[in-house]
């Protein structure tokens, strides 16, 4: 699984990255989590509100931080 955390470095983006990594570790997923900070690259996903989460090329959440339960759900699909 390929997970991207999109965010320019705001506080919310950092906390999304943190809980994503935590959930991946908890669920023992075979996933690579990468932080994308380049604004042009972020825009290429059609995202205008950070933070956003991209799982296998698909934007699953943007503009907010999901709670861990929701996140687990998003990563099992």
């Amino acid at each position: 699984m390929n997970i991207l955390v999109l965010g320019t470095g705001c506080a919310k983006c950092k906390s999304l990255e943190k809980i994503t990594r935590e959930v991946v570790a908890e669920m023992d997923l075979d996933a690579e989590v990468t932080k994308v900070e380049d604004i042009v690259e972020i825009m290429s996903f059609g995202v205008m509100t950070t933070p956003a989460l991209v799982v296998d090329g698909k934007v699953v959440v943007k503009g907010r931080i999901p709670d861990k339960n929701e996140l687990r759900h998003m990563l099992t699909k």
């Binding site: 320019t8 705001c10 604004i39 042009v40 972020i42 825009m43 290429s44 996903f45 059609g46 995202v47 205008m48 509100t49 950070t50 698909k58 934007v59 699953v60 943007k62 503009g63 907010r64």
Partner: protein, 343 residues
């Protein structure tokens, strides 16, 4: 099924809380009086007593209003994402587009850290530069926190005035920037940005799905802002009885014509949010600052800020930033003078 029951429960809890809210708000004044005079046993009419009473009354009042509005605005905002606003504004012509952008600026969630993606997204969608600016001016300046604090501390007239004049500034300033055709002062790379399409990721939500967004907004915003409101009102309460009435009159009163441009000059580089600045402004007004001057100061602080300009420098060349700040400051100045004249 389980989810449905939980949702129903949430709606009932919210309804119950609303009733409690209305009751507390309604009985706040007698409650405050009882608390200060009877329970604390403070002597009526004394300076210290009145200062304490002021705080015990104002702080919960403003906090109650804030919680309620932030909750509903949190829900309303789920209907307006920047992505949707961008689609709505694409291909709009001037003026009507400026009006629409300014109005959408009020309801679309915005923080200065997302100014760049917003700007890029708008330009890429073909939203004209002037219309983009109308949005960029209205969005930070007019927001629910500013409106509710103004309402709580000065009444609805001042709150409405602030919103209307803020809108007029955003519309006209954006319109002027559009007419000046300043596209050449936008960094070239901006026009090369390609934006992907994420319209299929738009979340479909039922109304009860949106309630948690209201709750999150309350936790996030009220949780962050309450301390500033408390501090501001505490300062206000302290100053209330002790600092002479017209302490600020010479510097920020009506008679001093230079007070409006001066307070804008001080206000523009300052960066603060509505929650921090409005309690301070209320102290200024109480101590003799005129409404127009105070309003201009507030708009300059909330609407224009150095950090935002530095962020925008990534996409705008310096002359355009100066033009933008110049036009908006000029608009704020007119508002300041006008209000000093009328009120």
């Amino acid at each position: 099924m389980k989810r449905l029951i939980r949702q129903k429960k949430t709606i009932w809890v919210i309804a119950g809380l609303l009733i409690v809210w209305a009751l507390v708000y309604d009985y706040l004044e007698p409650l405050t009086n009882y608390l200060t005079y009877n329970l604390f046993g403070l002597e009526q009419g004394k300076r210290l007593t009145e200062a304490i009473r002021f705080f015990v009354f104002e702080f919960p009042k403003v906090l109650l209003l804030l919680t309620l509005i932030v909750f509903f605005v949190g829900i309303i905002r789920t209907f307006f994402s920047p992505e949707r606003t961008r689609r709505a504004l694409a291909g709009k012509t001037t003026f009507a587009g400026n009006v629409m952008a300014s109005l959408l600026g009020i309801v679309t969630p915005f923080c200065s850290c997302s100014a760049i993606p917003l700007f890029l997204g708008f330009v890429e969608a073909g939203v004209p530069l002037g219309i983009t600016f109308s949005f960029l001016i209205a969005s930070p300046m007019i927001n629910e926190i500013a409106v509710i604090l103004l309402f709580g501390m000065f009444g609805w007239k001042v709150a409405v005035t602030y919103v209307v004049t803020g809108l007029v500034i955003a519309i006209t300033a954006g319109w002027i920037i559009g007419r000046l055709h300043l596209e050449k002062w936008v960094e070239e790379w901006v026009y090369k940005t390609k934006m992907g399409d994420a319209s299929d990721t738009e979340e479909k939500l039922s109304f009860s799905d949106r309630i948690p967004f209201g709750i999150t907004a309350v936790k996030e915003i009220v949780g962050k802002v309450w301390i500033y409101v408390a501090l501001g009102i505490a300062v206000g309460a302290g100053v209330h009885g002790y600092v002479p009435e017209n302490f600020m009159a010479a510097l920020m009163g009506k008679s001093a014509w230079y007070s409006v441009p001066l307070s804008i000059l001080i206000g523009v580089p300052l960066y603060s949010n509505a929650a921090r600045i409005i309690p301070i402004v209320s102290v200024l007004i109480e101590k003799g600052a005129s409404l127009g001057t105070a309003l201009a100061f507030m708009m300059a602080v909330i609407g224009l800020s150095l950090p935002e300009m530095i962020i925008l420098r990534k996409v705008l060349k310096l002359p355009l930033i100066f033009t933008f700040v110049g036009i908006v400051s000029f608009g704020i100045m007119i508002v300041g003078f006008l209000f000093n004249l009328i009120f």
